[in-house]
């Protein structure tokens, strides 16, 4: 009997030991997992990136350098930073006047854009004695047969615009103060030349100048686009829709808007905030480090803190860099501080406009590359202002030739806003977005139907019947998801686009 009891006790002990062993094993495994999380997950160290992450980043950086993997060089000056908001080719085909609206999605756009730039830069280098003053009637005549019409969206001082076209000396700036509108046509039958018509957007004065280039190149372009040009796209003044009839109270359009009589389709795009996940800012250590170094912030010594709205804030020296959960990168310097030097300039020299634009574009492009946006996104300069060596430059996104407009919480904001003082960066704001094409087509109505739909929502007693601008934009409200293209309309006397 005592032997049986001993056996029972032994069995109980063995069972207890087994349970203890199992519990111990579980505890050891848990502690190992927890230690791994603490050591290698950056989010669990409130002071910032932990020792092991920093070591890992430094090792990766050294190894990359040894094997010749360099940071991609800053992009050279792009020729398409300044793009026309309206780029129209018009020609005659099958006894009809036909028009094609051009953008970077057109197959031969790169060639046409290069030719355009060459023609404009050559014309802008000519002496002012060669300018021939004309009037509005001649301007409209030039738009009648064959040529290119360009509207660069806003008025630029002539010397600034010329510098964007790569022209260092522009004598005609003494005669024409500002530039925005151009018409380029082959010269008359007897002259082998390309004529450039320039309209000062502020004074309304019209001039023509000979570029001196042979017209064959331009004629070949106009011949090549004729297959895609449509006789149902017309300038407003052709149709008499630029002036009121008197009694009907109808809408009138800016004379040089191209009105499309037929609807057309564009692919929708999928938009995403690439630095946000599950409501908080999500950046890999490498991306964060590259971002900080671009702003000359030492990632080893800087200490971020998380703001009340879950933004990451890095305070360093006399500047602050903030990454919001909404995907905005906001860099500001303290008042009175010189700012982040983008290029070393002698203290006596002034920053030329085209150089400021290139610096700003290169910087923005660098940020765009770091945050991993898609290759189909381009930045284009949507506005440029200069005041005694200080520049405010806005860039916006262009997806496959169609610009993107922010609405909703980001209404009125640009994709990138840069403030420069000479070559020093004072303020930088960037709405980081990623766009990808979808396979879905979205049908857009004709210009007339779009205007009918908009005006059907207006109060009839309001006197809103003059349209200054109509453009197609992708409407991005800042949320992740599918974004559709729409007609956006600007009424005369208003700065806001509506749809």
């Amino acid at each position: 009997m005592s032997q049986g009891r001993t056996t029972q006790v032994t069995k109980d002990s063995t069972k207890k030991e087994s349970i203890k062993s199992a519990v111990l094993v579980v505890l050891v495994i848990s502690s190992l997992l927890l230690t791994g999380q603490i050591w290698f997950n950056k989010k669990l160290w409130p002071e910032g990136y932990n020792f092991f992450v920093n070591i890992n980043t430094a090792v990766v950086s050294v190894v990359s350098t040894i094997f010749g993997v360099q940071e991609p060089p800053a992009p050279a000056q792009r020729n398409d930073i300044i793009v026309p908001t309206h780029f129209v080719a018009y020609t005659v085909k099958d006894f009809d006047h036909a028009t094609l609206i051009l953008n970077s999605s057109y197959s031969d756009f790169s060639n046409i854009s290069d030719q355009n730039r060459k023609i404009l830069s050559t014309a802008l280098s000519k002496p002012s004695l060669e300018l021939l003053p004309l009037n509005e009637t001649e301007w409209r005549k030039a738009l009648f047969t064959r040529g290119l019409y360009l509207d660069y969206g806003s008025a630029y001082p002539t010397s600034t615009f010329a510098s964007f076209m790569g022209v260092t000396s522009c004598p005609i700036s003494d005669t024409i103060a500002n530039m925005r509108y151009f018409v380029i046509t082959p010269a008359d039958t007897f002259t082998n030349d390309v004529w450039v018509y320039i309209k000062d957007p502020l004074s309304g004065s019209v001039y023509r100048i000979s570029s001196g280039l042979p017209k064959l190149g331009l004629e070949q372009i106009l011949l090549s686009i004729s297959a895609d040009a449509s006789p149902q796209n017309r300038f407003s003044f052709f149709l008499g829709t630029d002036s009121p009839s008197g009694d009907a109270g109808e809408v009138v359009f800016d004379p040089y808007l191209v009105l499309r009589e037929e609807g057309f389709s564009l692919k929708t795009v999928s938009a995403r905030n690439p630095i946000q996940k599950d409501g908080s800012t999500d950046l890999s250590a490498q991306t964060a480090e590259r971002l900080l170094r671009t702003f000359s912030i030492n990632p080893i010594t800087v200490r971020p803190y998380i703001d009340i709205d879950n933004s990451y804030v890095f305070v360093y020296s006399r500047a602050t860099l903030k990454l919001t959960t909404g995907g905005i990168i906001d860099y500001t310097t303290l008042q009175g501080d010189k700012g982040l030097m983008l290029e070393d300039l002698p203290s006596t020299s002034t920053m030329p406009a085209h150089k400021a634009l290139t610096l700003a574009n290169n910087f923005a492009q660098k940020i765009l590359n770091i945050t991993g946006n898609s290759d189909d996104i381009k930045l284009y300069c949507s506005s440029f202002s200069e005041n005694q060596g200080a520049f405010v430059i806005n860039f916006d996104y262009l997806y496959n030739g169609t610009p993107i407009k922010f609405t909703g919480a980001y209404s009125g904001m640009h994709a990138v806003t840069i403030e420069l003082n000479g070559s020093n960066l004072k303020r930088y704001t960037h709405i980081v977005r990623s766009y990808e094409a979808t396979e879905t087509d979205h049908m857009l109505p004709s210009t007339y139907h779009a205007v009918d739909e908009l005006f059907a929502t207006f109060d009839t007693t309001e006197n809103k019947n003059s349209i200054e601008e109509m453009l197609v934009y992708y409407d991005d409200d800042g949320n992740d998801g599918i974004k559709l293209p729409y007609w956006f309309i600007k009424l005369s006397g208003n700065d806001i686009y509506v749809r």
Partner: protein, 150 residues
């Protein structure tokens, strides 16, 4: 009884729908002498003088009018002189009406009919399409004159 009542109701409904459609659709043809009873429904903006000469094959007529006015475009047949409908639509909230018409070489008589309830306005437009040979002769005449002068 109920069946007959239902049949009558269906017939009345069908007739009223048909009448409604007829009331809004412009006639498919018109005689040249037909006239309207209004002159304030629509204003032709292009061609400005209600007649034009062009070398283009496609001519865009533009007009302005009150939103809701129904517009039909007719082309006169050279065979019997009647006007036959080629397009119809309505004027939207913008008050602008634009339509492109294919022209035949020579004279094209186009009629614009605007209707708003009982008001009808009829406007006739003459568009002459000159042929390529006529255009070449005009262009050639200018060069010939230039040389003849010397």
């Amino acid at each position: 009884m109920i069946k007959k009542l239902l049949q009558s109701v269906c017939l009345v409904l069908a007739l009223s729908m048909l009448l409604a459609v007829c009331a809004f659709a412009a006639p498919s043809s018109m005689s040249p002498n037909q006239q309207g009873n209004s002159n304030s429904l629509i204003y032709i903006k292009k061609p400005a003088s209600l007649s034009a000469t062009t070398s283009e094959k496609t001519y865009t007529v533009s007009a302005a009018g009150r939103p809701g006015v129904h517009v039909a475009i007719y082309r006169r047949s050279n065979y019997d002189g009647q006007f036959y409908r080629v397009y119809q639509g309505g004027i939207g909230a913008s008050g602008v009406y634009v339509v492109s018409i294919e022209l035949i070489p020579g004279k094209n008589k186009i009629r614009v009919r605007a209707q708003n309830n009982d008001e009808i306005q009829i406007i006739d437009i003459d568009i002459t399409r000159i042929t390529q040979s006529q255009l070449d002769r005009i262009n050639g005449l200018s060069i010939g004159d230039l040389f003849d002068a010397y």
